[in-house]
Structure formats: structure tokens, C-alpha cells
């Protein structure tokens, strides 16, 4: 696999604020990479640095083997789809699509031809003479993507492109963007705060926090083996449950969920007395009759979506359980909770790293 994009030791300072800290990241040609993290984590800054819209204060960025660190955006040959779409409001769809060609001096007839070709593949053929204000959100989104496609750039950059769309359209566009990526064989970098978008669309997910890459890898690897508590809590919905625990002699841990200490037999690679966090995903907890699970708890409340029931226990900290189908349990009921050992994640309480 050839590397299409490489960040090496990239740093970005805004005055005293250190936005990106020693970012090392390589992106394979033809892959779809998602940069994901909470707001302010530096994911957009990283993308904008790649585009050249932000000047990095340290390190190097290369695109297709060429170091572009000091190049202005227009010489980097990357296309970006903005969150706001950034369509030129005074131009028709066709003029929007062909703006880059016009800037590069392509003849009018050729531009029209190119616009028609791209519009045919993205379903904009009937809208070429409309203005952006006459389009719906989804159509504007398509124009923004088509404007990127028409240039055949070295990389596609997406800056939260779906966050202005309603939920149903978002799910649809997710598939459309991914299909487009596969068809073009493009290299895409996709910024989002929505871990579901990252998980479903990307080949490779990079989780950022406070300007640092917390973990990167294939989506399911991140889900199965989160490197630390942050990634464990960020990936997966609803978020993972964390139970503070102390390692006891004989490879088990003692937890306290509000009504006295409770011993759980879990193999932990830590010395006795160590403070750890035990993580269990809500979908890996199952309800049983009282006394038949690993421990018992009372139910605080339940929420049902019809297909799924979210159960919250009256414990400290509270535990979230996701049950498929409808469970006839009500708040106040006493239930047993069961889980498989394989679905347990243990983190060091101090460093929050996976043990």
C-alpha cells in the first residue's frame, strides 16, 4: 500500500494553546479515514492543516509523496466538502461545479461537458441551472461533493459534511458518500464528532482528544480492544459502563455499587490492591432472574424504543443495560445481571490505560 498522506510530528499552536501535539499519521492510498473526537479535540484543525487553511507550527505534511507543508491550499490539489457546503451563492450549480476548472483556464465547452458528466452520476442533471438558495439541504450537499469530484483531486477532505442534515437523510448520505469513495477509488479524510459515522463509513478510525491521537485502527478493533478509558467510552452507543474496583487476591476484583462490597471473579493482570476500572458495554449485560446473574441490582427506570429496551439500574454508578426486544421489567424490580468474561475491559484507574 502506498501512503497518500503523511503527517509527521505535526504541531499547531494558537498563541499559548497547543491544538495539535506531535501528530504522526499515515493514510493509505484509496482508504477512507475518519478523524473522530469530541469538539475541540483538534480533528478539524488537523484536516484544515492538511488542506493548508491552517499553518502548522511544527512537523511536516506530505501528499502523494510531496512535502506540502509550506504550499498554499490552491497548490495542494485536495478538495474539501465544508460543513456549511460553502457553495458560491451567486453562481448556478453548473458554475459552482466548474469554478475550479474556470480558474484553471479550461474552455467553456469542456467545462459544460465535465459538469454534465459529474451531475449525471450525482443526480444533479436537472438542477444545473438552479442557484444554491433554490436547493434543499441534501441537494446542496450533493453539489458540494460534485464540486470536489469534478477536480479529481489527490484527496477528498470532509469537514462534518452531514451535520446539517436531518437524521434520515444523514443515514442515506452516509452510504452515498462511501459508495462514491469506492467508485472513485479516492483517498478520503472525514472529520466527524459522530462515532457512528466514523464506525460505519471508515476503513480506519483515528480517535483524537485534546490534540493527541488516543488510538487508531480498524473500526471494530477500536470497539473490541479500546486502548484506554476515553476510547472505550467514546466508541459505542450507549457508552460503556465503568465500575471502580480494587484487585483482590486470587485474580478477582471487589466492586462497590452502592450496597456493600461485591466480589467478581475476573482475571486481571494487576497486583492485588491495585485500583482499576471495569468496563462493560450496555449491550453485553443481560438481565436474569435475581440471584442467577453475576450480581443483583434494582432497576431505576426503563426506556423502550419498541425494538430495544434501555434499562438503568439504581446503583452507584448507575449501569446501563441494552436488551433487544421488550422486557417486562419496571422501575423498582430486582434483577440479576449477567455478562461473559470475554466482554470485560479492565483499565488502570490512574492512567486509564487498558490492562
Amino acid at each position: 500500500m502506498t501512503k497518500q498522506i503523511e503527517f509527521s510530528g505535526v504541531n499547531k499552536h494558537y498563541g499559548a494553546y497547543h491544538a495539535l501535539k506531535d501528530i504522526d499519521l499515515s493514510i493509505d492510498k484509496g482508504s477512507f479515514v475518519a478523524l473522530v473526537g469530541p469538539s475541540g479535540c483538534g480533528k478539524s484543525t488537523l484536516l484544515r492543516s492538511l488542506a493548508g487553511l491552517e499553518k502548522i507550527t511544527g512537523g511536516d505534511i506530505s501528499i502523494a509523496g510531496e512535502v506540502v507543508t509550506t504550499l498554499p491550499p490552491r497548490k495542494r490539489d485536495v478538495a474539501m466538502v465544508f460543513q456549511s457546503y460553502a457553495l458560491y451563492p451567486h453562481m448556478t450549480v453548473e458554475e459552482n461545479l466548474t469554478y475550479s476548472l474556470r480558474v484553471h483556464g479550461v474552455a467553456r465547452a469542456e467545462r459544460k461537458q465535465a459538469a454534465a458528466e459529474v451531475a449525471a452520476t450525482t443526480g444533479l442533471a436537472d438542477l444545473l441551472h438552479r442557484y444554491p438558495r433554490e436547493l434543499s439541504g441534501g441537494q446542496r450537499q450533493r453539489v458540494a461533493m460534485s464540486r470536489a469530484i469534478i477536480r479529481n483531486p489527490k484527496a477528498f477532505l470532509f469537514d462534518e459534511p452531514l451535520s446539517n442534515l436531518d437524521a434520515a437523510l444523514r443515514v442515506h448520505m452516509r452510504k452515498e458518500i462511501r459508495a462514491l469513495h469506492d467508485r472513485l477509488g479516492a483517498t478520503s479524510v472525514y472529520v466527524t464528532h459522530d462515532q457512528i459515522e466514523a464506525m460505519t463509513m471508515a476503513d480506519h478510525v483515528v480517535v483524537l482528544r485534546a490534540g493527541v491521537i488516543e488510538q487508531q485502527g480498524r473500526p471494530l478493533d477500536l470497539y473490541d480492544k479500546p486502548a484506554n478509558k476515553f476510547v472505550a467510552g467514546f466508541i459505542g452507543s450507549p457508552a460503556m459502563n465503568f465500575l471502580p474496583a480494587t484487585v483482590t487476591e486470587g485474580g478477582s476484583v471487589a466492586i462497590d455499587i452502592g450496597n456493600g462490597p461485591l466480589s467478581l471473579a475476573i482475571a486481571v493482570a494487576a497486583p492485588a490492591g491495585a485500583r482499576v476500572l471495569v468496563g462493560i458495554r450496555p449491550e453485553h449485560l443481560t438481565l436474569t432472574a435475581p440471584g442467577e446473574g453475576r450480581f443483583d441490582a434494582s432497576i431505576a427506570f426503563t426506556e423502550s424504543t419498541g425494538s430495544t429496551t434501555f434499562v438503568t439500574t439504581a446503583t452507584t454508578p448507575e449501569l446501563m443495560v441494552v436488551e433487544t426486544g421488550r422486557r417486562m421489567v419496571a422501575s423498582g424490580d430486582r434483577v440479576g445481571l449477567s455478562f461473559g468474561d470475554a466482554s470485560i475491559h479492565v483499565f488502570d484507574a490512574a492512567t486509564e490505560r487498558r490492562l
Binding site: 488542506a51 487553511l53 465544508f82 460553502a86 458560491y88 451563492p89 451567486h90 475550479s100 444554491p132 464540486r147
Partner: protein, 300 residues
């Protein structure tokens, strides 16, 4: 009675009041004087019939006489020069300054605010200041031009027929530039920054971005500004009164000053009114354009 009261407090009567009061204000203070002026331009008016509204109707005789006067076409020419040069100067300097402050260096907004000082100054004060600056013997303007070797001898700006009009134009450009700058700054700042980023990624250099993004996005602002400039420039009277009084020998006389001169110095009210009516026609066209360009604002 109660229905009338409730209608006045919360109903159709209240709506009519809201429209009626400003409408009455406009009719009394703008509409009637305007109509009076138009009617007067078609009548024979002298000092004795000044107080009455019913006067001998003469049709277009006032206009015919006005146009027949030897100074009519020169003065119209001066007015056109004054309009074109003032608007062009104010607009170009204002745009340059707006673009300069748009780069947003430290203290830019503060400095931009200071520029408004010229605009809030009364025209007569500005005229007095420029009288000193443009003074032929000891004026700073001449000094600077001489030191830059643009001129060899002193130029008597206010009394030389070749320069009198330009001395008022220079003062007027100084007066109006900051207003142009402020409106253009507002227009510039309302262009979303991501359009420029998108254009930059699309490969457009700074100049291309200016021609393909900034100017088209500013079209309505520019249209509004030019028509406002036309209206304001036709209203510019103070500077003429303060700097040249239309002289020497009408060399810097313009329509608005001539109208006042005819009416209130030569007491030829009918011809003064006739000039005003011609100016009203011009301003009307500008107003229509102004309203149209503010209505067609393109915002993404």
C-alpha cells in the same frame, strides 16, 4: 363607542394609526413641499405672488428660459463632473480602505472607527478646513504637491477657474470616503469566510478570488452605495457655500447651488424650482435603483 375604542387599542384602527401617523408626517413635511415646488416650477412667480398658491400658469416657460440661459449647460456639465468624480473618488478610496482594514490587523476596528470623524463633521467646518489646506499662498496641499514635484508654482485652487470645481470635489471625496468605507466594510464582513477557503482550495489566487467572489457578492452593496452616493452628492451644498460660492464666474457652480442662488439671491423662485424638479427626476431614478439593489441581496 366601545367598539371604536377597542379597534383603536387592538385592531384595525390601531394598524391604521401606525401607518397613518408616519404617513401624515411624510405628506406634511415632504409631500406637500415637493408638490408645491413642482407646481411652482410651472407658474410665474414674483415677490408679490410669493404668498399665494394660485398663480399664473406658464407651462414649460420657466424650463425654456432656464435652458436658454448661457450658464445652463456649463453648470449641468459641472454637476455631472462633480457627481462622477466625487462618487468615483469616494467609492474607490472607500473600497481600498475597507479592503485594507478587512485584513484585520491589531487595532483595525479602532482605527476604522476613527475614520468616521470626517463623516460626522459639518460640511461648513470641512469647507473651512479645506479652505486653509487649499489656500494658494500658504496651503499645505500646494506645499505637499510642490515637494513631490507634481507642481512647480502655486495653484490657486479656489480662484482658478480650472481648479475651483476640483477643490470642492477633493473636499467632498474626503468627506464621503469614510461613509463608503463603513458600508463596504459591512458588505465585506457579511461574505462568509468559508467561500474564500473553498475558492482557495479550488485553485483561485487572491486576485481571482476578488473578481469572482468578492465583487459579485458585493453587487447589491455597491449598487446601493452608488445610488446613495448620487443622492448625497446632489445634496452637497455646504462645501460650495464654504469653499467657492460657485465661482469664479460659475466655474464651480452646480445645479443644487444654482437652485439656491436663483431662488434666494436672485429671487427667481420659479427657475429655482424648475432646477429642483430636474434634480428630483435624477434622484428618483437613483432611488429606484437603490431600492432595487437592496431588495436583490444575494446571501447564501
Amino acid at each position: 363607542m366601545r367598539r371604536l375604542y377597542s379597534s383603536l387599542v387592538d385592531g384595525r384602527g390601531f394598524d391604521l394609526c401606525l401607518i397613518g401617523i408616519p404617513l401624515a408626517f411624510l405628506i406634511v413635511l415632504s409631500g406637500i413641499p415637493l408638490i408645491y415646488n413642482v407646481v411652482m416650477s410651472f407658474q410665474a412667480v414674483d415677490m408679490f405672488s410669493l404668498g399665494s398658491f394660485i398663480r399664473p400658469w406658464v407651462g414649460f416657460e420657466n424650463y425654456r428660459q432656464l435652458i436658454a440661459q448661457p450658464e445652463f449647460w456649463p453648470i449641468m456639465g459641472h454637476t455631472a463632473t462633480f457627481l462622477a468624480a466625487s462618487i468615483a473618488g469616494q467609492f474607490l478610496l472607500g473600497f481600498a480602505l475597507a479592503l485594507f482594514f478587512w485584513t484585520n490587523f491589531p487595532g483595525a476596528s479602532w482605527l476604522r472607527g476613527l475614520f468616521l470623524v470626517s463623516w460626522v463633521m459639518p460640511g461648513l467646518v470641512v469647507g473651512a478646513v479645506w479652505n486653509w489646506l487649499l489656500s494658494g499662498d500658504f496651503g499645505v496641499f500646494n506645499f505637499v504637491l510642490r515637494e513631490l514635484h507634481v507642481i512647480s508654482g502655486n495653484v490657486f485652487w479656489r480662484s482658478d477657474p480650472n481648479f475651483a470645481l476640483w477643490s470642492v470635489i477633493i473636499a467632498n471625496i474626503w468627506l464621503g470616503t469614510s461613509f463608503n468605507m463603513i458600508l463596504l466594510s459591512v458588505g465585506l464582513s457579511s461574505i462568509p469566510a468559508d467561500l474564500y477557503e473553498a475558492a482557495e482550495l479550488d485553485g483561485a489566487g487572491a486576485l481571482t478570488r476578488f473578481w469572482t467572489i468578492t465583487l459579485p457578492m458585493m453587487r447589491s452593496t455597491i449598487g446601493a452605495l452608488i445610488s446613495l452616493g448620487l443622492i448625497f452628492t446632489l445634496q452637497q451644498f455646504d462645501l460650495f457655500a464654504a469653499i467657492t460660492s460657485g465661482g469664479p464666474n460659475n466655474a464651480s457652480n452646480v445645479a443644487q447651488y444654482w437652485a439656491w442662488d436663483l431662488s434666494f439671491k436672485q429671487y427667481d423662485f420659479a427657475k429655482g424650482a424648475a432646477i429642483s424638479v430636474i434634480m428630483i427626476a435624477v434622484v428618483m431614478v437613483a432611488s429606484v435603483y437603490y431600492v432595487r439593489s437592496t431588495r436583490h441581496e444575494v446571501r447564501g
